[in-house]
């Protein structure tokens, strides 16, 4: 859970208005990387929102995660332009390399694989975004090499 002070300052920034709850959750997730249950309970108490409604919101909006996410986030664009250029093969390559499916996080919280509707950089399709960095015109082999490189760099850093 985030510190109460942090949560309070997020709530204050949004004038403690229940109408701003989506923005509040976005800010919590930006800090915590996911939405811990205790944080949601705290927001519910402070803004007098029923927990059931909170769960509705947190599960309805795709941007929110109720599970901790990995240190690295790999997003594969599945927009139509990327799809017709073979994005499925890219997802397959990421899944094989990381051993997780779309929407999943690996056990040691190193990687999360997300798929996204469209990033709007269609000239570069198929696109993979790793930790905010865009990699365009990908092939499955290039994708595998990219992920292996990041993993290796991590390994070296730890060692």
């Amino acid at each position: 859970m985030l510190e109460t002070g942090v949560l309070d300052s997020i709530l204050d920034q949004h004038s403690r208005d229940p109408a701003n709850v989506v923005a509040i959750l976005q800010d919590i997730q930006a800090q915590a990387n996911w939405l811990p249950a205790e944080d949601l309970r705290y927001v519910c108490t402070e803004l007098a929102i029923p927990l059931s409604k909170m769960m509705g919101l947190a599960t309805f909006y795709k941007a929110f995660s109720l599970q901790p996410r990995g240190k690295h986030i790999a997003s594969v664009c599945l927009g139509t332009a990327c799809h017709v250029r073979g994005a499925e093969r890219i997802v397959g390559a990421v899944e094989r390399e990381l051993g997780i499916k779309g929407g999943e996080t690996d056990e040691d919280l190193q990687w999360t694989l997300e798929t996204v509707g469209c990033l709007g950089a269609c000239a570069l399709g198929p696109i993979v975004v790793v930790d905010g960095e865009y990699h365009g015109q990908m092939t499955s082999a290039k994708t595998t090499r990219l992920l292996q490189k990041i993993k290796k760099a991590d390994g070296n850093g730890a060692g």
């Binding site: 701003n20 332009a81 799809h83 709007g120 000239a123 365009g136």
Partner: protein, 638 residues
């Protein structure tokens, strides 16, 4: 401290002051810093320009301008050297020193960075002569290349907020509504509802306060024109909203921006803050007595929130479920109050109409659809990018003249318009004029402006499956026809793609589609069957091949294809064996290789990596005989 603008005269003076500080003949390097070019790594190019100019002591003599997206994404990163407008494409940081030395210092062009017209083979020097731009009519997009979207002064210098001042000093709200009505402007978000009529209803509606909303929750996959406009010229959108708010009598408004568009969120936020600082937003705008404030809200990654009533629920802090259409949002919208919601591009058209007059606007476009429309031209197309054309231009002109046709000499198959709500249009209909009404007649829709081009290697059954898969995820689940209908249709399409299709499946899909279309609550469901119905109508033979022959003619559906190495083309280079995750490709060095079909998972890695086109995707009854592929016999014998 900024000087607040308290009268139209103040803005004119400010504009003159800004212009006086700027020398029109001062060299300027305009670089596209939109999301597309960012993905190409344009920040390194911008950094290289700044560093090189600094090194040569030219910082004071040359401006570097990071602009929004001018549209030619295919050729990014894009650099234009002004004032001559020399156009360089695919510029990398190691090209920067040469551009500065040759073009800025010596006044010569760098030939190798020019765009080469593939039709004539000639190099094009100036931006305005590039065929991709020349064939467009860029009333909105051209401004993107002229300003830094984070600086309000750039917009003001170009005449920005002039329309607002004209309105505040000479027009009454009814006159504004009337001007927009006469212009024939229709909503660019997809439905094409007449904007003037929407505003008139909202103005008449009872209830206070009234709201204006900019819908920037652009969710159609393959569409990014709203992002480009909001990122590249946020003040034009904001100016449009202020004009609209004045017209309907609103004091409060919102931008609802897609969460996946961080730069659009940032630039819209900066625009609102800057306008407020200059007194162009907030209390007593430019001393007129009219007040309006606008806030920014981010979406939560739900496609359905692009639907207006769902978007309003989301703004209220609720789950974004659409409402029944008999409740009109112009009367009972956000917090049950009269609300005028328009899309980014619609708002961006408003200042143009006020500035140049409705008569000017009606000269552009067709009888029923006025003005220009921005399309995002993507998929299997040579010139991927944003294209702004007058309504009524044909699909063929957009795809072949502006878009440069299909890459790799492949054949055109279809163009998908209108995102998940639209349909696939075949070759023989390419001469259709594109406007709100014409595409609807053939089972598609213009929609918000995504044009996804497909070639012979695109499977139309897979495309229908793709869109339903997308919509199944995005359906909010409130009404049964959409939630269940899409799910069941997807099951059918999945089994067809897996070669388990049944003869009656096509009729069943059509029946289900009609039910979904007729009984869903909102446009997401009502239009969801379009990709299915249009592919069934125009590409029925592909469905039949999947169902009757277990064959995918385009070679896409995984269950129905196999990878085969053509021994006549394979050089035995071994590239495929190195990438194969299954080690299922075997062969001697420099001798034709063979795929062991028993182990192959059809990941396509070998296909991507082969430089000799030796890996062939085959489907159906074309499985090679053992004799035709002697090495296979060996592998299988083992």
């Amino acid at each position: 401290m900024l000087q607040k603008i308290t009268s139209p005269g103040d803005l004119t003076r400010l504009r003159e002051e800004i212009q006086a500080q700027r020398k029109p003949d001062k060299p300027c390097i305009a670089i596209c810093a939109g999301t597309g070019c960012q993905a190409y790594g344009v920040n390194r190019v911008i950094g290289a320009f700044e560093e090189e100019l600094d090194k040569r002591g030219l910082v004071d003599q040359v401006d570097v301008l990071a602009t929004g997206c001018p549209g030619f994404c295919e050729r990014g990163p894009l650099v234009v050297v002004k004032p001559e407008d020399v156009f360089y494409q695919r510029v990398q940081s190691n090209d920067v020193a040469e551009i500065i030395e040759e073009t800025l210092v010596n006044g010569r062009v760098v030939d190798r960075l020019l765009y080469k017209d593939p039709n004539t083979g000639e190099k094009v020097v100036h931006e305005q002569d590039v065929p991709f731009y020349k064939l467009q009519r860029r009333e909105i997009l051209w401004v993107n290349g002229l300003l830094d979207p984070t600086r309000i002064e750039d917009y003001i210098a170009l005449g920005g907020y002039g329309a607002l001042m004209k309105m505040l000093s000479t027009m009454e709200p009814d006159e504004v509504v009337d001007t927009i009505t006469r212009s024939g402007l229709r909503g660019r978000g997809g439905a094409g509802f007449p904007t003037g009529r929407k505003w008139a209803s909202c103005r008449r509606a009872e209830g206070e306060p009234k709201y204006v909303i900019c819908n920037a929750d652009e969710g159609d996959p393959g569409a990014f024109m709203d992002r480009a406009v909001l990122e590249g010229n946020p003040h034009a959108v904001l100016e449009g909203m202020i004009i609209g708010a004045f017209a309907i009598g609103s004091r409060e408004g919102y931008f609802y921006v897609r969460n996946e568009y961080p730069m659009a969120v940032e630039n819209a936020t900066l625009a609102v803050e800057a306008a407020r600082a200059y007194g162009l937003l907030g209390e007593n705008i430019a001393g007129s007595g009219f007040s309006l404030d606008i806030d920014i809200r981010r979406g939560g990654g739900a496609f359905v929130c692009g639907e207006s009533s769902a978007l309003m629920r989301s703004l209220q802090g609720d789950v974004g479920e659409p409402q029944a259409k008999y409740v009109r949002s112009v009367e009972k919208g956000l917090w049950e109050r009269p609300t005028a919601l328009n899309n980014v591009e619609t708002w961006a058209n408003v200042p143009l109409i006020i500035d140049k007059g409705w008569e000017w606007y009606t000269e552009i476009g067709t009888e029923g659809s006025k003005g220009t429309k921005i399309f995002s031209l993507v998929g299997k197309i040579n010139n991927t990018g944003l294209v702004e054309v007058p309504m009524g231009v044909t699909l063929r002109e957009i795809i072949f003249d502006i878009g440069g046709g299909i890459p790799d000499h492949k054949a055109f198959k279809a163009v998908q318009t209108g995102g998940p709500s639209g349909g696939c249009i075949p070759e023989h209909m390419l001469d259709l004029p594109v406007d709100f009404d014409e595409l609807g007649k053939v089972g598609s829709m213009m929609g918000s402006g995504g044009l996804i081009v497909m070639d012979e290697a695109t499977c139309m059954v897979d495309i229908a499956r793709y869109f339903l898969d997308f919509l199944k995820e995005e359906s909010c689940g409130k009404c049964v026809p959409c939630r269940e209908g899409i799910g069941r249709s997807l099951e059918i399409l999945n089994r067809i793609c897996e070669g388990r299709g049944r003869p009656e499946d096509m009729a069943l899909l059509e029946e289900l589609s009609e039910t979904i279309r007729d009984f869903s609550l909102c446009a997401l469901g009502k239009t969801a069957p379009n990709p299915v119905l249009s592919t069934l109508k125009y590409f029925r033979d592909e469905y039949e091949a999947h169902i009757h022959d277990q064959r995918c003619p385009a070679g896409v559906c995984k269950s129905l294809i196999e990878y085969w190495i053509d021994p006549n083309l394979c050089t035995g280079c071994g590239a495929c064996t190195r990438v194969c995750p299954q080690q299922s490709i075997e062969g001697e060095k420099k001798a034709p290789h063979v795929v062991n079909k028993m182990q192959c998972i059809k990941c396509g890695a070998c296909y991507d990596v082969c430089r000799f086109d030796a890996i062939v995707v085959r489907s159906g009854s074309v499985t090679p005989t053992i004799e035709a592929q002697p090495a296979l016999a060996l592998v299988e014998a083992n």
